[in-house]
Amino acid sequence: MKKSKIFWGYAVLALVIYAVVQLLISNGVIQNYYQNMFIAMCINIILAVSLHVIIGVTGQFSIGHAGFLAVGAYISAICTMKFGMPFITAILIGAIVAALAGLLVGIPSLRLKGDYLAIATLGFAEIIRIVFVNTDYVGGAAGLQVTHQSTWTYAFFGVFITILVISNFTNSRHGRACISIREDEIAADAMGINTTYYKVVAFAIGSFFAGVAGAIYAHNYYIIQPTAFGFLKSFDILIFVVLGGLGSLSGSVIAAILLTIVSTYLQEFPETRMIIYSLILILVMLYRPTGLLGSKEITAYFKFGKKGGTRV
């Protein structure tokens, strides 16, 4: 009963945010420049939350998230540009193919741990990128032209559904199994949890939503090129999750919002932006290795005085 009340509270809040921004956009108060920033923010939130499932919840260190973003972007662009499908179908197909790619990558590489897993995911992401560079059907290195179809509505509901699914997943029996893998894989194994299964599931869910983000991304920037999906993109996504706090969904959302604003204002100075990013990454790791919020959610800070178990 109480849980559903909280849920409806958030749903109403989300609708209000959506309606206000949509109203401002249709009245022309928010210019194209800022509208673009809002869409970029939504894309980054989806990416951050989808990587949060893999790194924050399940503890599997993947630094190849841009690969799944690329799969979602290219597949959805092929659907709309080559087959003339409606955008919404393209998003779904892009996401499903990205999830399949996640399965394909996850099943062999999730046998590895820690550093090795990180390098293997990086390798897979690069292979995906090189495949797109060498496929003439999608324009090779020159890239693929895509019509502009992403709107605030698509982007916002993308975020809404992503957060809804992922927070429900985290608080479910499956999510708790994933958290136990993060805390201690051997102990989780000993408790009878099928660790490989849950790792692959988390990976596939993460890739699915990266695919959603990719579809929205592709239809927002008029052109997609393989160079946009290199390591730097993966690190960009990684920094959201790390800065927000490994294991904190709201943390990664906040970090994604903040860093999108920072990078929008620093667009003219890409070097400065990267220097700031890298300094943030180093300083956060040296002085606050848990990130801004640690593994807590922001809601935990508003619950002083109330009794109850600690949330994970």
Partner: protein, 291 residues
């Protein structure tokens, strides 16, 4: 005959990878950290060599030595400032810091001198020498002899000197080494210094061989050198050499077969295959997981 020539090219490229891979493998062996910034030390070495040769008109060997010394200093600074505090942190925290240091070096260089590439001055008039009917350029011979010399020097340092003995002891068991009176911090710094010096040398050689350097050049060779280290068995010095040579030859063969755009993919496929089939590498021993 063309094949033998390609093989020589592959070995030249491979010896550059091997020099970088040695630094990775030594650092990994001693503190279990993938030093992502290592590729950028390689880049800095290339730039130091470039300025030494083109601007300050130094001899190639002097430039090489200067690059090695400065890179060693840079390596120690990176270790002392960024990694030292993370000795007891989680592996992921250390890895993220390494990524951060790598990005910081790249973009600081771009910030100060722009991202435009630089053309390396020609230091040799390249001649082709005919050996058994095969045309081999003097450049390839130069690269090979420098890298073989450095690798032999490294073997000597690791196996015959006191600091080498300390390095082996610390990588075997840091706590026991500390109890035996070895200064672990200094030994780790020395490892970074030696590894970074080798990367600096590789940078200069790379510049001379490929004649084009830019601030982001360290990323790909860095990752490939890491692949080479994993291929040979990470933490094992001869493994890094063999891994580098194998990777260089495979890449050259893939290019020679006409798939030059797939060259980078070949390296990553090797990485994934080795990680899945034999994660300990060619020379590694399988270690069992203990609870």
């Amino acid at each position: 005959m063309e094949w033998i020539q390609q093989l020589v090219n592959g070995i030249s490229l491979g010896s550059i990878y091997a020099l970088i891979a040695l630094g990775y493998t030594m650092v990994y062996g001693i503190i279990k950290l993938i030093n992502f910034a290592h590729g950028d030390v390689f880049m800095l070495g290339a730039f130091i060599g470039f300025y030494a040769i083109a601007r300050w008109e130094m001899n190639v060997f002097l430039a090489l030595i200067l690059a090695m010394i400065l890179c060693a200093v840079i390596g120690v600074i990176i270790e002392r400032v960024a990694y030292k505090r993370l000795r007891n942190a989680t592996r992921i925290a250390a890895l993220i810091t390494a990524i951060g240091v790598s990005l910081l070096i790249e973009y600081t260089v771009i910030f100060f001198r722009g991202s435009s590439p630089e053309a390396y001055p020609t230091v040799f008039t390249t001649k082709n020498i005919e050996i058994f009917g095969v045309q081999i350029s003097t450049l390839a011979i130069f690269i090979l002899s420098v890298s073989i010399f450095l690798m032999l020097l490294l073997q000597f340092i690791v196996h015959k000197t006191k600091i080498g003995k300390a390095m082996r002891a610390v990588s075997h068991d840091a706590d026991a080494a500390r109890l035996m009176g070895i200064n672990v911090d200094n030994t780790i710094s020395a490892t970074f210094a030696i590894g970074s010096a080798l990367a600096g040398a590789a940078g200069v050689i790379f510049g001379i061989y490929y004649t084009r350097i830019d601030p982001l050049m360290g990323i790909m060779p860095g990752i490939k050198a890491f692949i080479a280290a994993v291929l040979g068995g990470i933490g094992i010095i001869p493994g890094a050499m063999v891994g580098g040579l194998v990777l260089g030859v495979v890449e050259t063969v893939v290019s020679a077969l006409g798939y030059s755009l797939w060259r980078d993919a070949a390296a990553f496929v090797i990485l994934i295959l080795i990680l899945i089939l034999r994660p300990a590498g060619i020379f590694g021993k399988n270690t069992r997981e203990k609870v």
